[in-house]
Structure formats: C-alpha cells, structure tokens
C-alpha cells in the first residue's frame, strides 16, 4: 500500500521535472546551431567541392558570422592589459582589424569544409555567460572537441571565445600580441595585422 503511494508520488514528481526546462537553458546552443546551419547551407552547395568560395558566398558567410561574434569583446580580451593603454581611436581601429583577421582565418577554414559532422554535446550557463560544447567528426573519424564561450547581450548570445581541443583562440592571440608588443611596439602589431589581412 505504501509502496504504491510512493510510486505515484515519485512518478508525478519526475513528470514535473521532465517538463520543459526554463526557456533560456537551450538558448546559447540554439544560437550556435542557427549560425552553424546558416553557414553550412551556404558552403554545402552540390558541386562546390575543392572550388574556392566566390565573393557572394564570402559576403554571406561574413554576415552570418558578424551576427554571432562579439568582435569588441574578443579584441579587448586578446589585448588584455594593453587595451587600457590605447586611445579610443586605436581601440576602434584594432577591433576592426582583429575582426577582419578572424573573419579571414575563419573563411579559410570553412573553405576546406568537406562534410564534417557537428555533434552538440551540451551547454552550461552561469549568469550571463555560457559554454556550448560541440564535437566535430571528420571523414577520417577523428574527433575534435570545440567549446564556444558566449556572453548574453540583451536577448542575444554572442561568442567571445572558441576553444579547439582545449586551445583557446583568445588566449593564443593574447600571448602572441603580448609578445609582439613587448618585443617591438603596438604600432608594429598594427602593421603586422594589416599585412596579414591584405589579400594575397
């Protein structure tokens, strides 16, 4: 008798919990999925394999990426303590340049897309910061772990860092930029950025 009662209480409680999680819980993952699917739709055109992306595709991809990435936050974090020392004009210029560098790098990588699968492993949210974990499975069955770090801005979630196999993009650039600034100067960093971005 008691056991049956207990069973029903447990069942109803578990039903309560398996109801839909709070609306925001899946948001960061949804945003990442949105952008990823958008870009994959542009890139996976039937006979595109091994053909470089044309200007139209590049523009579309840039737009999609622009929506999801918080360039200023990434630029600020990659300059770290050197950010405070910059003038407003320098800051604006740097954000633009860094954004262009990342876009270019991203475009190069996306160009080489050849049917890799993306598996969404889950996310964790802490206040207005989130981490979305993703696994990319290549044609050769290699698995690469990627983690997107997002920050909530109003109603939207924007990416401020990507970690591939545990290597954070922002951290990596931070160390590079710091090395260049301390060994030569900020001006030379800007020069090198411009050289990198210039189309070859």
């Amino acid at each position: 008798m008691h056991r049956r009662y207990f069973f029903w209480v447990a069942l109803s409680l578990s039903l309560l919990f398996t109801g839909s999680p709070p609306a925001l819980a899946g948001m960061p993952t949804e945003k990442i999925k949105e952008t990823t699917n958008e870009i994959l739709a542009i890139v996976t055109v039937p006979d595109r394999k091994d053909v470089p992306l044309n200007a139209e595709m590049k523009k579309k991809i840039r737009k999609a990426v622009d929506k999801r990435f918080d360039w200023e936050e990434m630029a600020r974090r990659s300059l770290a303590r050197h950010w405070k020392e910059r003038t407003e004009q320098e800051k604006t210029q740097f954000v633009v340049l860094f954004g262009q560098l990342l876009e270019r790098t991203y475009l190069d990588k996306v160009e080489g897309y050849s049917g890799e699968k993306v598996v969404y492993l889950g996310e964790s949210i802490d206040d207005n910061y989130a981490v979305v974990n993703v696994k990319i499975i290549t044609a050769k069955n290699e698995e690469i772990d990627v983690a997107y770090r997002l920050r909530q801005k109003g109603n939207d979630w924007l990416v401020y860092d990507i970690s591939v196999a545990g290597v954070s993009l922002v951290n990596n650039y931070r160390v590079q930029f710091n090395s260049i600034i301390t060994r030569s100067s900020y001006a030379s960093l800007v020069e090198r950025l411009k050289e990198k971005i210039a189309p070859d």
Binding site: S14, F17, T18, P21, A25, E73, R76, R77, A80, R81, T105, D108, K109, G112, L121, G122, E123, S124, I125, D126, D127, Y129, V131, N133, K140, N141, D145, A147, R149, S163, A165, G166, V167, S168, V170, N171, N172, Y173, R174, V175, Q176, F177, N178, S179, I180, L189, R192, L193, K196
Partner: protein, 315 residues
C-alpha cells in the same frame, strides 16, 4: 641492458595476463556501461540536476584555474584537483557534467596572461626556424610524394598500427592515474584491434565498438600528480615540448614496444622516420594553416602546445 628489457617485458606480459583475466568482466561491464549511457542520453531531468551540481562545485572551488575542472564524459566523470595527489570523485550515473572549464572569475576577467615560462626563448626561436625549414624543405615534399603513391586507407591503416603498438604506454599511464575504466577500455581496444583489426590496421574498436581513445602518456601522469610543465623546450626535429614532457617521453620510451621489437638499433630510426612521414601525409596543410592564422607563429605554437597539454591533463 638485456636484464632491464627482460624485466620490462615480463611486467608487460604480467599486465597482459591480468588484463586477459579481467577481459571477460570488462566485456560485461561494457554492456552495462552502454545501456546506462543510452538511458542518460534520453533523460533530460538528470541533466538539470547535473548542471547545478557542476556549477555549485565550481563556485565553491578555489580560485586557481587548475583546481576545479570537471571534464566531459558521458557517464562517470573524474575530477582532478590541481596540486598534490589527485583526488577522484566518481559521480553517479545521474549527474552529467559537461565542460565547465573555468571558474566564474575567469569568465569575466580577460586580463590574465597565463602561459608557459620560456627562459630559453632565443634558442627556442632559432630551433623553430630550423624545424620550419626542415618541414618545408624535407618532410613536406617527401610526405607529399608518399601521399601521391599510397592510398589513404593504407596510410590510415599504418597510422593505426603504430598507434595500436603504443598501447603499453597508454595502459600503464591510465593505471598510474587510477583511471580504471580508461585502462580497461584501452585493453579492449588493443585486444580487438590486434586480433580482429589485423594487427591494428583496422580500428575496429572505434568503428564497431565505439570505444573512446584514452591517449595518456607519462607527461600527463606527471601533470596529474601536480608537476607543472617547467619551461618550454623546442627540440630540433621532435618539436615543442616542456621539461616535464621531455622526462615523460624519455620514460615512455621504456614502454614502447617498437624499441624492443626491433632488435637492431640501426633500424629504429628508419621506422621512426616512416611513422613521421606517414602521419604527416595525413595532416598536410594543418601546420601551414596555423602559420597563416598567426601573427607570431613561434609564440602561437608554444602557447597552443601549453594549452593543449593542460587540457589533456585535465581530462
């Protein structure tokens, strides 16, 4: 020299024996593990509990970035504390904690510059240039030529053979890190791949059994026991390493079966060279891509190596 190799071989076979005895048990556990796994995947309720549990744990943990980390595994997860002896907490199958890599503080503060010490920077940079030339002038042309005449399946197969042979290194280091399940899985992988997988050529364990790889080595074991990386060393030919990882590689060499299987030491270098050429042929373009994305390739490689090893140790 003969005596030490004899002892190591005996130790190896002892491991093999104990492994075989528990092999059947392992296989049974695989079934249980996999049914738990599928159960977890379909339930959303435990997920919510798991998130809060993981988040609370990270808030309560110390401020050191290395101190908290819950790696992401699907069922049981293992937490490694940074300094001192590793303490393990096996969570029940209900709690699924995914990569929550940094404590809340690091989420907000973008101003730390945590990287590996590099007192030998000028020497390391010089060696970087040497390795760079070596890649472009020697390794890449040879690998490209080899790639053109060898089908991909063969190259992947050979890579699997070499990987399979390094089993003792992974097995022993899993045990040293008290990762029983990983050691078990690695044993099953080795056994199935060596037999059904034709000496390791076919990675049956990954494809049919869907077993995860646990690529442990002595450097990671030392790291798990609290050894910091020391400083950065860029070896000619061998590439980026650290003080700890150099010791680790030297130690692992005693467990490398190839060193015992090839009786004449003059053949070890060609075999090692073939392994390198084969592996490179499968990843041509990755190094170039890294260089293209970097403003200062040397620093990029050094930091990427540091972060990558740190992430591997945390797993």
């Amino acid at each position: 020299m003969k005596k030490t190799s004899g002892i190591v071989l005996m130790a190896f076979f002892a491991c093999l024996l104990t492994g075989t005895l528990s092999f059947a048990e392992c296989l049974d556990n695989q079934q249980i593990y996999r049914s738990e796994h599928t159960l977890l995947y379909s339930e959303s309720a435990p997920l919510e509990e798991g998130y809060t549990a993981g988040l609370d744990k990270s808030k309560a943990s110390s401020k050191e970035p290395s101190a908290d980390v819950s790696p992401f595994l699907f069922a049981s997860s293992v937490a490694v504390k940074g300094k001192g002896a590793p303490s393990r907490s096996k969570r029940s199958s209900e709690h699924l904690v995914l990569a929550q890599v940094e404590p809340k503080e690091e989420f907000q503060d973008g101003n730390d510059l945590e990287t590996i010490a590099d007192p030998l920077e000028s020497i390391n940079r010089a060696i970087y240039h040497f390795n760079d030339k070596l890649y472009f002038w020697l390794l890449k042309p040879v690998a490209t030529g080899y790639k053109a005449v060898t089908p991909e399946k063969v190259r992947v197969g050979m890579k699997n053979v070499f990987y399979n042979l390094a089993f003792p290194i992974r097995f022993v280091n899993c045990l040293l890190q008290a990762k029983g399940k990983a050691a078990c899985d690695e044993f099953v992988r080795f056994f199935t791949n060596s037999t059904i997988g034709m000496g390791g050529f076919l990675d049956v364990a990954s494809n049919k059994l869907e077993l995860k790889k646990y690529n442990e080595d002595l450097g990671q074991t030392l790291g798990a026991y609290g050894a910091g990386p020391g400083f950065f060393i860029n070896w000619p030919i061998f590439g980026p390493s650290s003080v700890r990882d150099t010791f680790g590689s030297a130690g692992d060499a005693f467990l490398e079966p190839l060193n015992y299987m090839i009786p004449k030491s003059k053949y070890r270098i060609p075999v090692g060279a073939y392994n390198t050429i084969n592996k490179t042929s499968l990843s041509i373009g990755e190094y170039e891509s890294l260089k293209k994305a970097a403003l200062d390739p040397y620093t990029a490689i050094r930091d990427a190596y540091y972060q990558y090893r740190r992430a591997q140790i945390r797993e």
